[in-house]
């Protein structure tokens, strides 16, 4: 039968179901098909903190959103054009996000009175008019899957499990996705269980055929491949990119990598990933707690390894004292904070940028720590390498501030060439560094005049035996010193060292060069801010955008950039932490725009707000 094929420039799809329904896997597969097809894309998983919240409840709904387009895009999209809901709870939990006219594909199987009552629906929303503003395809996906698998030996329960693949098949037909990858994936994933592999493949194909052969849909869509810069690409999530960045950074520094970590959402993926790469000299230590994790990493750093610790806000709080010790010892250390909603346990699986001030100030004493923030999933790779650079060149702990949004979200990544990454080769001191009267003497705190870094002299080097510690040290010798002037000097020197770290100037995108308003962001808000800026510009209004990778020290030209604009707007997923720093440092009265919903900003809302600021100024 001939279906109409419509061209679209972009689509946002959200797949939602029980957390046991395999929604993340379905989303991953659809993403991979889309990547293989050549669209630009951006994804956002959203799952409950509970591993298996009771089936059919709102708390148990897990979803995956994918935005793909024939042009370059920056976010997973504000609101889905298409929602696939595998049960009533999934429909209810996501309904309020749908714009008028959206398409809903819903599995009607569980729309029983009891199941509906359980989530507070007294009538069936499919038939009572609740969905009248949407195009609804109400199908018994479960039954369709069971029918497709009727000839197999599988129990109904096992067969029913393949309904996510049925839905994926249907979606793949709707959006003309290539399917070989998914078929291959299923064969490999269930290689040990060929019956299950076949069932999933059959369900997938049946879903595709349902779209193709029934009249229910009538239309299928095409989104042409995007025009992206030439090169090799893959799709990558932030935590994976960050893990690869750490491995590559250690390799470029010619150091073994030692990770000390304690599991915590959303940072555990990095521990899992690094554990797989022992062949590259990556040692991973799952410690008894976060304090031991960073302690072991610091111990390894003393021994000449690239010490790394990974955690999220609550764990970073526990690590504070050891970060302070690393500041005092002046040893390289990379501290990764994949931020999540706080305070306390907060929202473990949701995103937030509320650890900036913790990273900046969350230690006793004057304990400056450089801070680097990635701006997108693939950028986590480069940001990790930058953190390694700063740590090893300046012999300092560095905090790498990622967050749940980019950690779990994914996008296509133009692949780097390992041998072309920056050369970070580290030189250990091998001989005493004293001169003149101090010839032959080792001075552990004699600094490089340019970087103010002290030498890295590792155990095993004869003639450089020395003792370091958290008690204030005398300049140059590193011996214990309680001398007031020395302490004043050392505090200021440590501050000057961090303040003097060379970081690239801030680049401003002021397309028309006549903007009066600058929107300044940091970290994962890059995508939403960029998308909002495009919307504003499409209306013919000028606006400038700049994004900070370095939060400490700030780029040297930041003050100049701020002074150039009449208004500076800072959107953040916290209550104004960067705004506070900028006001305090530059006396710029910025407009702080904040949101802490555990979700990234919506581009449309941000664009409206920016328009508001621009017109108020006139």
């Amino acid at each position: 039968m001939s279906t109409e094929v419509q061209q679209l420039d972009r689509v946002v799809i959200r797949i939602a179901g029980d957390s046991g329904d395999g929604m993340q896997l379905t989303g991953d597969r659809f993403t991979q098909e889309t990547a293989n097809f050549g669209n630009d894309l951006s994804t956002q998983p959203n799952f409950p903190a509970e591993i298996r919240a009771p089936a059919g409840t709102l708390a148990g709904v897990s979803s995956f959103q994918l935005h793909f387009a024939d042009h370059d895009i920056l976010t997973p999209g504000d609101r889905p054009d298409v929602l696939v809901a595998m049960n009533p709870a999934a429909l209810k939990a996501n309904l309020q996000d749908l714009p008028k006219g959206a398409t809903i594909i819903v599995d009607t199987r569980d729309f029983t009175e009891r199941a509906l009552a359980r989530i507070g629906w007294s009538a069936n929303p499919i038939t009572d008019g609740t969905l009248e503003n949407f195009t609804v395809h109400a199908l018994d996906l479960t039954q369709l899957t069971l029918d497709a698998l009727a000839d197999t030996e599988l129990s109904r329960k096992d067969a029913g499990r393949s309904k996510n693949m049925y839905a994926l098949g249907l979606l793949s037909w709707m959006y003309s996705r290539p399917t070989e990858g998914t078929l291959k994936f299923l064969r490999e994933k269930f290689a040990k269980n060929p019956d299950i592999a076949e069932a999933n493949i059959t369900a997938f194909k049946a879903g595709w055929n349902y779209g193709e052969t029934t009249e229910a849909f009538g239309v299928s869509y095409q989104v042409k491949p995007a025009v992206l810069p030439p090169g090799e690409y893959r799709n990558i999530a932030g935590n994976l990119a960050l893990s690869y960045g750490l491995i590559a950074g250690a390799r470029r520094a010619k150091l073994p990598l030692f990770l000390g970590a304690y599991p915590i959402t959303p940072a555990s993926d990095i521990l899992h990933e690094l554990s797989k790469h022992k062949r590259f000299g990556v040692a991973t230590f799952q410690a008894e707690d976060e304090i031991a994790g960073i302690g072991a990493a610091l111990g390894a750093a003393f021994g000449g390894a690239l010490g790394v610790t990974t955690s999220s806000g609550p764990g970073i709080a526990l690590k504070a004292e050891t970060i302070g010790l690393a500041v005092s010892l002046e040893l390289p250390l990379v501290v990764v904070d994949v931020q999540r909603g706080g305070p306390s346990t907060g929202l473990p699986t949701k995103t937030e940028q509320s650890d900036l001030l913790q990273a900046m100030f969350g230690r006793n004493g004057e304990a400056p720590v450089p801070i680097v923030a990635p701006q997108s999933p693939s950028d986590c790779f480069d940001a990790a390498i930058e953190a390694v650079r700063i740590a090893t060149v300046y012999k300092t702990p560095v905090i790498l501030l990622s967050d749940g949004y980019i950690a779990n979200g994914s996008e296509p990544w133009k692949l780097p060439v390992v041998s072309e990454l920056p050369d970070l080769t580290v030189e250990f001191l091998t001989e005493p560094n004293g001169t003149g009267a101090e010839d032959g003497v080792f001075l552990p705190y004699l600094r490089d005049p340019e970087t103010l870094a002290r030498p890295w002299a590792v155990p095993g080097t004869a003639g450089l035996e020395h003792r370091i510690g958290g008690i204030e040290k005398a300049d140059r010798t590193g011996n214990i010193s309680y001398d007031p002037d020395n302490h004043d000097f050392m505090v200021r020197t440590r501050a000057a060292k961090v303040a003097g770290i060379t970081v690239p100037d801030l680049v401003v995108d002021d397309a028309d060069d006549d903007a009066k308003v600058l929107v300044l962001g940091w970290g994962s808000t890059y995508g939403p801010i960029g998308a909002a800026v495009r919307r504003v510009r499409r209306t013919g209004t000028s606006i400038a955008q700049a994004h900070l990778r370095h939060l400490n020290p700030f780029p040297a030209n930041l003050g100049e950039v701020l002074a150039h604009y009449e208004r500076v707007v800072i959107p953040e997923m916290n209550l104004g932490q960067l705004a506070l720093l900028i006001r305090g440092r530059y006396l710029t009265d910025v407009v702080s725009v904040t949101q802490v919903r555990g979700m990234p900003f919506r581009a449309a809302e941000l664009a409206d707000m920016l328009q508001g600021v621009i017109s108020n100024g006139e």
Binding site: P230, E232, R234, F285, A292, G299, G303, G460, I468, G469
Partner: protein, 345 residues
């Protein structure tokens, strides 16, 4: 004694002024350790002392080796990272009863259970010295201190029992003032592969003076020290008439008086017993009478050390990769490419 390397005790002294109170037991321990270092036959640059915070934790500043005076309680964790990433080094941890058993209790038991290659010297003065005399987790119940004017309420840890409970592979106990015994136990501890924990009774003459007098005083120590020597009967007291005996019925250990030579109930010390409950039972004798102290090596058994296991895994992964997917830049490049990359022309 001079070593093959020609090192002497004085080579392990630093130019830093030692700042413990005059008369502190820490001096004797420092002298014993410096004196025994040359025997190890390990070059100074391959030795590292890591400590936490406390009077005792100042120790690394006085040892002319590599050293780190870290933060309160965390030395075992820091040393774990150093030892596992640098198996070529000999890593010591110096800690106090507060450092190791209060704030750092968690790290201590986990280091012991993992059996990381560390020699841990726990200076037990049964008091917080550096913070000027509060009771510690090893202070006897009812102890009057600045923070417990009516007497402390908490029941104390027995560090040896605690370590054995954590399945430590080497546990010893010795005394600051008995240089010979101290050196013997330290020697055995440093020869052990895995974690060795040595509890060193240490007098704090300022805040808890005389805590160990009963076992120091030549008139009384014979009555209260239970000497442990592998393969020997556990006997003590005048004419060795007291002994640790095993109840033939239930296997329980106790101290008996007037035990005749050849009494079959007398325990023969077995530090190599695979089951830690024997050593644990010995350590509990002090709970029956707190004046009693078994001294020596309670347990010395072999179990693969965490560092060796980790390095075996690293080696195995590398060797396997060298024959398959590689370990070089190209291998990393192909890891980064993954299975699903695509080309845009």
């Amino acid at each position: 004694m001079a070593s093959e390397l020609g090192l002497k005790a004085k080579d392990f002294k630093t130019d830093q002024e030692v700042r413990w109170c005059p008369g502190c037991g820490d001096y004797a321990i420092l002298a014993a350790v410096q004196g025994f270092m040359p025997e190890l036959g390990i070059p100074r640059e391959d030795i590292v002392f890591i400590s936490g915070i406390g009077c005792s934790s100042r120790f690394p500043y006085y040892m002319n080796t590599y050293g780190m005076h870290s933060i309160h309680g965390r030395a075992p964790a820091i040393a774990t990272g150093l030892s596992t990433s640098r198996p070529d080094l000999k890593v010591f941890v110096v800690t106090g009863d507060g450092d190791a058993l209060s704030i750092g209790g968690n790290h201590l038991i986990h280091a012991l259970r993992r059996n990381v290659n560390l020699t841990i010297l726990l200076f037990n003065n049964r008091i917080y010295g550096l913070t000027k005399g509060q009771y510690s987790p090893t202070s006897e119940q009812g102890k009057i201190t600045k923070s417990t004017p009516m007497g402390s309420l908490d029941f104390p840890f027995n560090p040896v029992s605690l370590a054995l409970g954590a399945e430590a592979t080497f546990v010893g106990r010795t005394l600051d003032s008995d240089r010979k015994h101290l050196t013997t136990v330290l020697r055995a501890a440093t020869e052990h592969r895995g974690t060795s924990l040595v509890e060193i009774y240490q007098n704090c003459n300022i805040f808890n003076d005389g805590a160990f007098d009963l076992i120091k005083d030549s008139d009384t120590k014979g009555e209260w020290i239970i000497p442990l020597e592998h393969g020997s009967e556990v006997r003590f007291g005048a004419d060795n008439s007291k002994a640790v005996v095993r109840d033939p019925g239930n296997g329980a250990l106790s101290v008996a008086e007037d035990v005749a030579p050849g009494d079959p109930r007398v325990v023969i010390h077995d530090a190599h017993s695979a089951d830690p409950s024997y050593a644990f039972a010995i350590s509990r004798l002090s709970q029956v009478d707190s004046r009693l102290s078994a001294m020596g090596v309670f347990r010395d058994v072999s179990r693969p050390s965490y560092d060796d296991l980790m390095n075996d895994q690293l080696d195995a992964a590398r060797v396997k990769a060298e024959a398959s997917n590689g370990t070089d830049d190209a291998a990393l490049q192909s890891l980064i490419y993954g299975a699903d990359s695509w080309t845009i022309q």
